[in-house]
Assembly symmetry: D2
Amino acid sequence: MKKSVAILGATGMVGIRYASMLSDHPLFRVVAVTGSESVGKRYGDAIGSRTGLRISPEVVEMVVSPTRPESIDADLVFSPLPTEAAKSLEPKFAKAGFRVVTDASPHRMEPDVPLVIPEVNPEHLGLIKWQRKKRGWKGFMVATPNCTAAGLALLLKPIHDSVGVERAIVTTLQAVSGAGYPGVPSLDVIDNVIPFIKGEEEKVETEPLKMLGDFRGNRIEHAKFQMSAMCHRVPTTDGHMESAYIETRDQVDIPGLVKELTDFRGVPQRLNLPTAPGRPIIVQDAQDRPQVKLDREAGSVPGMSVVVGRVRRGLTSKSVRLTFVSHNLVRGAAGSTILVAELLHHRGFLE
Amino acid sequence: MKKSVAILGATGMVGIRYASMLSDHPLFRVVAVTGSESVGKRYGDAIGSRTGLRISPEVVEMVVSPTRPESIDADLVFSPLPTEAAKSLEPKFAKAGFRVVTDASPHRMEPDVPLVIPEVNPEHLGLIKWQRKKRGWKGFMVATPNCTAAGLALLLKPIHDSVGVERAIVTTLQAVSGAGYPGVPSLDVIDNVIPFIKGEEEKVETEPLKMLGDFRGNRIEHAKFQMSAMCHRVPTTDGHMESAYIETRDQVDIPGLVKELTDFRGVPQRLNLPTAPGRPIIVQDAQDRPQVKLDREAGSVPGMSVVVGRVRRGLTSKSVRLTFVSHNLVRGAAGSTILVAELLHHRGFLE
Amino acid sequence: MKKSVAILGATGMVGIRYASMLSDHPLFRVVAVTGSESVGKRYGDAIGSRTGLRISPEVVEMVVSPTRPESIDADLVFSPLPTEAAKSLEPKFAKAGFRVVTDASPHRMEPDVPLVIPEVNPEHLGLIKWQRKKRGWKGFMVATPNCTAAGLALLLKPIHDSVGVERAIVTTLQAVSGAGYPGVPSLDVIDNVIPFIKGEEEKVETEPLKMLGDFRGNRIEHAKFQMSAMCHRVPTTDGHMESAYIETRDQVDIPGLVKELTDFRGVPQRLNLPTAPGRPIIVQDAQDRPQVKLDREAGSVPGMSVVVGRVRRGLTSKSVRLTFVSHNLVRGAAGSTILVAELLHHRGFLE
Amino acid sequence: MKKSVAILGATGMVGIRYASMLSDHPLFRVVAVTGSESVGKRYGDAIGSRTGLRISPEVVEMVVSPTRPESIDADLVFSPLPTEAAKSLEPKFAKAGFRVVTDASPHRMEPDVPLVIPEVNPEHLGLIKWQRKKRGWKGFMVATPNCTAAGLALLLKPIHDSVGVERAIVTTLQAVSGAGYPGVPSLDVIDNVIPFIKGEEEKVETEPLKMLGDFRGNRIEHAKFQMSAMCHRVPTTDGHMESAYIETRDQVDIPGLVKELTDFRGVPQRLNLPTAPGRPIIVQDAQDRPQVKLDREAGSVPGMSVVVGRVRRGLTSKSVRLTFVSHNLVRGAAGSTILVAELLHHRGFLE
């Protein structure tokens, strides 16, 4: 018996990705899609012809509902709502009894909201109990990270566990789909790089510290290391690349670290959740990999693995440099969030 | 009375840039262009129709000579030869009495070869005397840096002078013209980033240390700070972007440093050399600048100024982060080298 | 004594191009720039940092006025207004006594509005007299064509005059700047072609017939030949390419036709108007030209010449095939319109 | 029992596509891959890391053989050899008893070589008997068309059958992968269009006439209609777009023609061959489709369907205009050729 789910803001770029990934999902059945200007339209007409993704006919034929708790009935709602809408609407849904899993940013850093990557910090879901109690909600709210922070935190996890991250200096080369649709004007990005993405660096410098922090019953003690982010928009469609210079507490043995990355598995892999990739981190040893176009869909669940390469020593023996690619719309958005929902389902949170 | 110059390897991407920048030059007159497979062809036919640059009709009509000392007669030769050819041919030219200014890499790090950016280390030309003596050459060889190292060293100069660079962690986003022509296949770069450029990181990590080093009569004492480079090829045509995290000896006052950068002038500016830009470094304060397409041709001599922006504190008070754009074919190749030749001319080295 | 001009809708993509081309213009002085949401802002702030074009400091410092006749005072207004605004506002300006030269589409095909390319049909300006009489206006309205129709009509002029065009089957490959800013989302155009541009084919199929028509005192008798247009958006920034298969009344002698194209000059060339290119049409004989990037800025006034190549026979002796590039923002917008204003000035219409 | 096949020139762009499409093929088993400079290398090393395609481990581990009949043993050889190599080598293989199915161009227009698209002209395989007799070969040679001609001929087939094509004026917008690897330099194609592809227009203007011609026992009587092709290289990776203006013998009823296109099926569909798409032609009715990125992999066998849209009347009632997208490496190369091999297998030619 599948659980019923709704997609809030389903006509946006990430919303469409949800609709596709939830088509024929073994645990979930989409029962509602919501929008704002498109309310009352057939979903297929609302999203038009701008995607090559496959979406089940059942969803394509749905009529878009308004984004209000009273308009839908579902065991769980996925929220890729725009920031302002998410800020006001998500708490209303949670208060009205919905389990909300959100990819939007406004509530991520609130102390009683778990910010979760299932392979990294599944134990943070323990905050839900406290959140409900404190806010008096029947439902709850769980967040997933920023698209750039998602791949980064996943990659830092085994490094932090083995040699202790003290400082990470990260430079990103981000795809245009990270800005949604219509997003970046083509005139701004053809033959160009823009070294600024509004609000991005702040998120990349804080979210990983929460996710790599320790769960203390009713709060998260953030990790202590330092983060620097310099973010760039480059002319690629999907897939964020990040190059990191990482200083560590302990000496780094490169082959040993490569093995840690390769062998890394998390709770989703042990539970064999439907959207869990076989290997969360894939190490490429060709000297000119990872590449955005060749590696963004790598792995057993396309777009869910982080592909890392050029793993090499930094300027001291307590440092490492590396480059990785992570699919911003899958591991960085819809995929991570669906994986959280699968974990919630397994843990009985959707009963 | 203009000095006569020859362009070796004139049919390559950088060679064509020389031919254009030397058309109607106030101090130099092109008297020969050399090539290998194109020997005997009209220069205009040899370079075909693949450039929009203006080249003087006189040069277009020249017949391509072989790259041999005995085939040409000139006061100075510019060498953008391919690495292997430069390695063997440039010393032959210098031995035969030619003054060689080279943009090629093989001799840059030799102890008696000055590696010069005229705004950064004009005093290193003092090595020429020693070089001639040691090698017994009538001519001499002066080198200019790698296209990525050029803008970087120019930018580091006023920073090093004011607050002392201790470590620079640099990530580059480089244009395809840096690989020459035909260079990067379009299939490799459309909708893609390649995080590897053969030999590039080694050059970026060593050349600035030589250029920012001290001239000690018969040798250069290299600067001592640490350099890390992570190089990426992105889908842009011209203009390298670099983002740097710089640790310093002294506390950094950001407005003060911005003023140092803005006010920086070098010998070429004081001498008012023809190819010297009014301001070697232009500081952009818009939060989304510099951008490759908008800033690569900035300044009074297009392509000769480094445009820097997003100048902000790093993780400690003794650090600064910034992003800059530098035209790889002008400041990073033909422009820098012509500026060196102008300085040599002014100092009487071409008599 | 320069004539005073205002730019309506000056903050759009074409408006900015006007501001740049009118900086330091020998005949015109910009005295006002208008906008809608940006009213009251400094013009430089309103347009932000998204252009590399040079605009005179005097214009940059202007305060944006509302787009109302009572808010400005000028001898002539240039209008690159959006379609809906142009529809209602331009007649108001003309009625209020302004001479309006418009690049917008809504009034182009009205029988008493001259649609003019100065090299093609300067005599159509004769309609102004009739227009003023019929509408009872003190001012008047003159239009310039769609960006794709502009280059096409200019190219067809000497062909029609020499061998008679009977049918033109045109396929276009248009740059994204034709859609304005923000215009085409980058996600829609990276690694893609879109074979549809709303309203474009209708304009390309009708406007040239009006421009190549005959002036009959109080009306234009449209040319009679047939036009087919298939329009495509391709991943280029500036410069529209068009490939045409043209059937003619007379036999086509290709070398003869190439000479007609090369020798073509119009009234602006004879009058030596400031924005008139030396050669309105440049014939490239290299087999792989024209190319968008290499030829869009060709000629003595960058962007004002149409560059044509691959001129060859079609399937019969009464046909010709060719490909050309024309800069959509210059010859296709701001440049053409300024050239019309220069012609109006010469003919005493601005007294 | 699978038939054994070899891939000649397996390290090229199309060769790699064969290796991928033949991995786990139900009828064929790859037993050899050949090359020139890569002879003796492991196939996986020879092709490096530049593709994201999946190739079976068995093939990846093969050692590259020289391209000589005596070096391999197989029931059939696929040849995507470069032109010059194909010219001399393919007849040697056929003479030595191999069944050769070639995607290369040199033998396509020879009178006794069938040039086949299985949905269009399967009966042309009847030439094989005559070819063997005339040339005294034990083996034989069958060709598939140029990548641009393939989609075009497939689309013209149902049109020609229903209303009679009299003239087709075709303009192409071709992807860079059509030029192979390394192929088009990125500097030539970023922000650019090149209106010339060497040899392409001649092929597009002749090959469809042979394929749509009639089999007369020992020769093909070519179709009589006229073809004009104007070919352009645009900045897309895979997928050729073509816009055609078609004049017909009979009046065109657009809805009727759309139905003919939609309902079109060929022998491969009736036989349910493994690589046959369910619908060879897919009609898109959204006004902005087909698009290269969204439609190049459409259909039940990705890349094997031609997607057509914007089907509309031309300038007369006996004409039609349309735009289509066809995957140049699949329907235009490896896919078509494998489909021919499947048909040969079904007809007993591989016994």
